[in-house]
């Protein structure tokens, strides 16, 4: 058991090393980091003529939305592409022969590769989150500066404790919106979502003949997965008017495709609404079990794949 785990970890770390030493990934990552930072500039297209505190609600929302949007977007593509190429590369280069000639089970090999992807995604998300935090901090400082300069225009305000209280309150609003500990929850949920995407890609790649097929199929499943909730509610409450084919199709979607729409709860977190960790953990547990199911099926398929 332990040696099995050790082998998985060895393969995982090797996979991570391979990805990191590949230039393509680094370029993509730099691009992502830059884009996260650019969200600051998009936020400048905000509504003019408002009092600063109100203005900043809007600007901060923009920075959060586009920053996390970039993280989710790039995370998705990094997950999709790196996982889709995982098995085909090993088969094409035949490096898999050398590994499987060693006392390594096929399942350990597959799990090891996936573990490497998880490490890679964790690394990418961390770097992008760092850029996001820096961007938010810049926005915070800009916001505080605007608040200060607005109060400056009132002349000698620092001696009036009531005005000071108002100023401090305005500043506190900005700081609390930026330094929202719930953002950690948001990033963790985004990470879970892209790991699920990777698991789907892995499953498809175990039987796909080309990596392009894997990419396209996973992408389509990803899109359908956002409508799975609708399919499910329709299927569970269907009337007599649906045909057997409609019913079968919708049923199949409900039973197999994950509900990725549940991750859009991240929107609520970004808008400043409190989503308790109890729900986030519920969602994470769901994602976790789902990934395990996908891995189990992947192992069964891969165990007998011709190489």
């Amino acid at each position: 058991m332990i040696s099995s785990l050790q082998r998985i970890i060895v393969i995982g770390r090797n996979t991570l090393t391979e990805a990191v030493r590949q230039k393509v990934l680094n370029v993509l990552l730099i691009f992502a980091v830059v884009l996260v930072s650019c969200s600051v500039f998009i936020s400048q297209l905000a509504t003019p003529g408002l009092d600063p505190a109100g203005l900043f609600d809007e600007q901060i929302k923009f920075v959060k939305d586009f920053g996390c949007g970039a993280i989710g977007f790039f995370g998705f593509f990094i997950a999709l592409l790196s996982t889709a190429l995982l098995i085909p590369q090993e088969l094409h280069n035949r490096t898999i022969y050398t590994i499987l000639a060693k006392p390594v089970r096929r399942s350990e090999f597959l799990l090891g590769k996936f573990f490497g992807i998880i490490l890679l995604l964790a690394l990418c998300i961390s770097l992008m989150s760092l850029a996001f935090v820096v961007t938010l901090y810049v926005q915070e400082q800009v916001g505080l500066g605007v608040v200060d300069s607005t109060y400056e225009r009132m002349g000698d305000w620092k001696n009036n404790p009531h005005i000071v209280a108002m100023h401090d309150h305005d500043a506190a609003i900005i700081i609390s919106q930026v330094r929202d500990p719930q953002l950690v929850e948001a990033v963790v949920l985004l990470f879970a979502k892209i790991v699920m995407t990777a698991a789907i890609a892995l499953l498809i790649s175990t039987f796909a003949t080309s990596w392009i097929f894997t990419v396209i199929t996973t992408f389509m499943i990803y899109l359908i997965a956002h409508a799975e909730g609708l399919a499910r509610t329709f299927w569970l409450s269907q009337g007599a008017e649906s045909t057997i084919w409609q019913s079968a199709l919708v049923g199949l979607i409900s039973m197999l495709i994950p509900d990725m729409n549940s991750f859009t709860i991240v929107d609520e977190i970004l808008a400043g609404n409190h989503i308790p960790w109890s729900h986030a953990l519920n969602l994470l547990a769901y994602a976790n079990i789902y990934v395990i199911v996908l891995l189990a099926v992947s192992i069964v398929i891969f165990d007998y794949r011709e190489i």
């Binding site: 060895v10 391979e18 022969y97 050398t98 499987l100 006392p103």
Partner: protein, 310 residues
């Protein structure tokens, strides 16, 4: 009395019959070619036995089933029919693979790792860790002569260096059985000779070596037994000794030059015992080109161990 004789017989048979490293019974592999509606029989009912401590050569043209046999014995592919056993175990079992080392015909390694990292990676996969792994890596680097390449990524290695690292990773866990697929293909004669010496050394250590090669002369130098494959079937098998010896004649080597008259006199002498005098031939013994090359190159003071990639 009879009972004692029986026991003695059993003992001696236990001592004289070595265990089999590899055994196949009716091993078959078929690939259906759906677009041609035909079936490709890559290996047809192979019955093979390789004893422990043997050096066994697999010969045959491309597509004759040598690689398929190796892959089946390594557990990389599943047989369509028949059975294969490695040390009495199924080839895809972990216990079997723990005792087996594999040198692939092409460098199926990760090009982004350097020599050290490659050995460390495969070593860990084989369950060799810690100080034992460090020591083993040092030993093997020395053995294959890769000291000046160990820090460089494999993508910068020459073909010869890749074969060396290939051998090193095949040996990292001190296996009892080695599969070498074209071990000297693309390697310069000096390197080939070193590999050949290594095989013989492994044999002395009691290891079993099964290798496939196109280079017939090299096979001849090391193998105890060979099998010749053609179109998926094993056509011929036996010890080199028995296969190659021309039982119809005797070779005598006389280390002196003889003129025509002397040759004739010797001919008459031999013919007196009933040998057909006209069938006796006098020729000059030939060196093999390899022997000449090695003799020449090794005579040079600075014979390079490995030439870096240009």
């Amino acid at each position: 009395m009879g009972a004692i004789t029986k026991i003695r017989t059993m003992e001696s048979s236990a001592v004289t019959a070595p265990t089999l490293a590899v055994e196949t019974i009716g091993l078959t592999k078929r690939y259906p070619l759906t677009w041609k509606r035909k079936v490709l029989v890559a290996l047809d009912s192979l019955n093979l036995q390789v004893k422990q401590g043997e050096v066994f050569g697999l010969l045959g043209p491309n597509g004759s089933g040598k690689s398929t046999t190796l892959k089946l014995l390594l557990g990389l592919i599943v047989a369509s029919e028949g059975e294969a056993r490695v040390f009495g175990l199924p080839p895809d079992s972990l216990d079997a693979r723990r005792r087996v080392g594999f040198l692939p015909e092409n460098p199926y390694f990760y090009a982004f790792l350097n020599g050290d990292e490659t050995l460390r990676f495969y070593g860990k996969l084989c369950g060799v860790t810690g100080a034992k792994l460090d020591k083993r890596i040092e030993e093997l680097i020395d053995l294959v002569g890769l000291q000046n390449g160990r820090e460089r990524p494999l993508r910068s290695y020459s073909k010869g260096m890749l074969q060396r690292i290939g051998l090193a990773q095949a040996l990292i866990h001190d296996p009892d059985l080695l599969f070498l697929d074209e071990p000297t293909a693309g390697v310069d004669p000096l390197g080939s000779a070193q590999i050949r010496d290594l095989i013989l050394r492994l044999k002395k250590m009691g290891k079993t070596v099964i290798f496939s090669s196109h280079l017939l002369e090299q096979v001849q130098e090391v193998a105890d037994r060979v099998a010749i494959f053609s179109l998926g079937k094993k056509v011929l098998e036996g010890s080199l000794e028995s296969l190659l010896t021309e039982n119809q004649s005797t070779q005598v080597l006389i280390p002196a030059e003889m003129n025509a008259e002397q040759q004739d006199r010797l001919r008459q002498f031999i013919a007196r015992d009933g040998v057909d005098a006209q069938a006796i031939r006098f020729t000059r013994p030939h060196l093999s080109l390899e022997q000449l090359y090695l003799r020449t190159v090794q005579a040079q003071p600075d014979a390079a161990k490995d030439s870096p990639k240009p």
